[in-house]
Symmetry: C2
Subunit: 430 residues, 2 copies
């Protein structure tokens, strides 16, 4: 049974800490392995990629076969139903429409000193998208990464997806086709990240790497950060549902389970001000668990990292949510907009009883790549901003420089940077 906790329970802090820190520490040995792989790919390029793919993905790659060919894409597409194509296309269209609203424009502006200042917004030249392979191959991830990149105007979107034993997920290739991915390489793991970050004879170097992956991929991304940009350090997924006693216990239970089925490290928490609802959801979770094909995974997640928490009132529930800074936050309350302004940190906020998290996972439009593990305190959902960069623009007239010259020289001098001061004063001499 899903545990029911109260904030006043003597072991509440310990229970919560266990959930919050469930993926905190990475064994040093994994980091060492990843460092070795990155160094190998930097040094030996394609040859290292071929060897590592044979070893980890049981696939023999060559310069000719490392990239997915047009023929391979056509074969895959033939296996996808028209209905699936239409569903993915709808999702792509809605994701594109939402992200287009995030667009920031280049601006220029002049001030009273005749100084023209501005900010130029440009798409990144080339982006790499990591897509997990095998069982956990999700076409929705392809759309959530590639569509915003293309809306931003990225010229070249390079996808990497491991094909263990040569196995391809046709829906992943279909999603890539719909999203306009430019090139696809049959690579996964830390070696794929290294190839994108540094480039090899076959794989072009990119400017940024986005997309989810296992712990090796996550560490590799962190290690190449600075050489390229990355999206964020993603941990296991989580949902927090805030409830005021209104709504339907079966719906809330279904939402908790939709998170729990992801993997054993996922966390699903309900915080409710109603004891009746707490018990009803506990019952429903148990009932629905028994009907799930992924029961074993979901049950493990619920047992280890699930909880129903009884709050005194809605404010206590909100305060708790702000402490957690959840990736997904459902406001399963009668009037969600009344409490929205009290929510300080959350990746995505699902308002009211008709907005299950799954709707956001696929096609509502907002990105499903969200900050996990409390990082919503400072990280944002993947967005159009991730696929552009900015340049400041400064333009002084002779008169404008003259008017501001004294203060510039003064600050340069108090910082002891004489050449800075001289670069201004030399322009004042007539």
């Amino acid at each position: 049974m899903m545990r029911i906790l109260k904030f006043s329970d003597p072991d509440f802090s310990a229970q919560l800490q266990r959930i919050e820190q469930r993926a905190d520490e990475v064994p040093d040995v994994i980091e060492e392995t990843v460092k070795t792989i990155i160094a190998d790919v930097r040094k030996r390029g394609d040859v290292a990629l071929f060897e590592l793919s044979a070893k980890f993905d049981r696939i023999d790659l060559t310069v000719e076969t490392i990239e997915v060919s047009a023929a391979e894409i056509d074969t895959a597409l033939a296996a996808v139903s028209d209905e699936s194509m239409a569903g993915l296309q709808l999702a792509a269209d809605r994701i594109a429409a939402y992200h287009a609203k995030q667009k920031q424009e280049t601006w220029l502006s002049t001030d009273e000193d005749d100084v023209l200042l501005g900010q130029m917004v440009r798409p990144l030249d080339r982006v790499g998208i990591y897509v997990p392979g095998g069982k956990a191959a999700y076409p929705s991830s392809v759309l959530m990464n590639a569509v915003p990149a293309k809306v931003a105007g990225v010229a070249e979107v390079i996808m990497v997806v491991p094909m263990p034993g040569g196995e391809v997920n046709p829906h992943v290739l279909a999603a890539a086709k719909i999203a306009g991915v430019d090139r696809i390489f049959k690579l996964g793991g830390a070696q794929a990240v290294a190839a994108l970050a540094y480039g090899t004879a076959s794989v072009p170097r990119v400017d940024k790497i986005t997309g989810p992956g296992n712990i090796y991929v996550a560490i590799a991304k962190k290690l190449v950060f600075g050489q390229v940009d990355i999206d964020m350090i993603a941990g296991p997924s989580e949902i927090l549902v805030i409830n005021d006693g209104s709504g339907n216990a079966a719906h809330i239970a279904a939402d908790l389970l939709s998170q729990a089925e992801h993997d054993e490290l996922a966390s699903a928490i309900l915080v409710t001000s109603s004891e009746t609802m707490a018990i009803a959801v506990q019952d429903e979770v148990e009932k629905q668990l028994q009907q799930l094909s992924r029961e074993t995974i979901a049950r493990q997640s619920i047992d280890d990292f699930g909880a129903i928490i009884l709050a005194e009132d809605l404010s206590e529930a909100i305060e708790f949510s702000n402490r957690i800074a959840p990736e997904h936050l459902e406001l399963a309350v009668d009037n969600p907009f009344a409490i929205l302004s009290a929510i300080r940190h959350a990746g995505a906020i699902f308002m009211g009883h008709h907005t299950p998290e799954a709707a956001g996972d696929y096609l509502a439009g907002p990105n499903h790549t969200l900050p996990t593990g409390g990082t919503a305190r400072f990280f944002s959902p993947l967005s159009l901003d991730d696929f552009v960069k900015k340049s400041s623009i400064l333009s002084f007239t002779e008169g404008g420089l003259q008017r501001l010259s004294q203060e510039i020289i003064q600050i340069a001098e108090l910082e002891g940077l004489e050449a800075h001061a001289k670069s201004v004063s030399i322009r004042l001499k007539k």
Copy 2:
């Protein structure tokens, strides 16, 4: 003499690579030291901070003295001239005005399926600003980090600045006062970064750490990335000047030297289509170098990492600039706006002959924290965006969920995530 190169020189690539990779590799031993310091601060908190500050900064700190007191600030301010205060205030005002233009608003929008979607923008709760101490203590850095944080609405700005041997730079404290910094701790190095990232009894944990530092600080920031957000991985500074033969050689030389005086690893490059200008700048650099108080540093930088490059024409110069993706780019040409759209990567672009980089360093308004070492390909100047985070907002009506339910269920099923599908289908049953 500053070397003059041509793209066709046989060793051009080698010369350029030496400049580009001048700060690429970090010795493993530094990373190990930083890891040990971070682990120590996490484990022993304040006690570790006191010991490390005694060791590295020759200062004895206690719970009572670790934070700069109001009295200490008053004493420092008494040492700052009214003129300096006015200069720093002007800079703060202009920086605030520019960054206010970067503000992104929360938005909500409904679509034809009656789905309400949006994006909520919120300031970070608490930000930590690293300010180098001792000789390289720059009040302008305080302003460039703290002012945008405050414009963004960050509730608490915590500054750390080492005070080696107890030495305080009064202008740094004056800038902190003007910028509205909330608390200041006498800490530096990797231990300061660790304290901000994890918190100790005295130092509150922050959500993001920004600001420049030495190699230990840079590595510490990279290591705590994910635990908190960081601004960017900053390397040594650089300037690239593009010239078409117009303008004044003495001015261009002065701008190159204003970069070179920063430190021995700084890089100053002129690329010009005019051989006359190349030679004139070479002469001017030599002449002005001899008059600089920081001649030794500047000369080392010019000798090691400076270059004047002769281009066939302006397009070749621009192409080279796009390859370098410089931190500071001066378009020292007659008509800079005519070539702006050809510039693909640059941290800040200084237009025309009256816009020396030093103006941007202090008070033009745009941030002087800029992407270095070619990272302008994907990083942006420090901006208001760095001090906010976003949450997606999703709100379905019952009818809207009904209309989109088939496609959601379909994608969930092709991803094999049954509980996701059920969280939607359960809401359709009547």
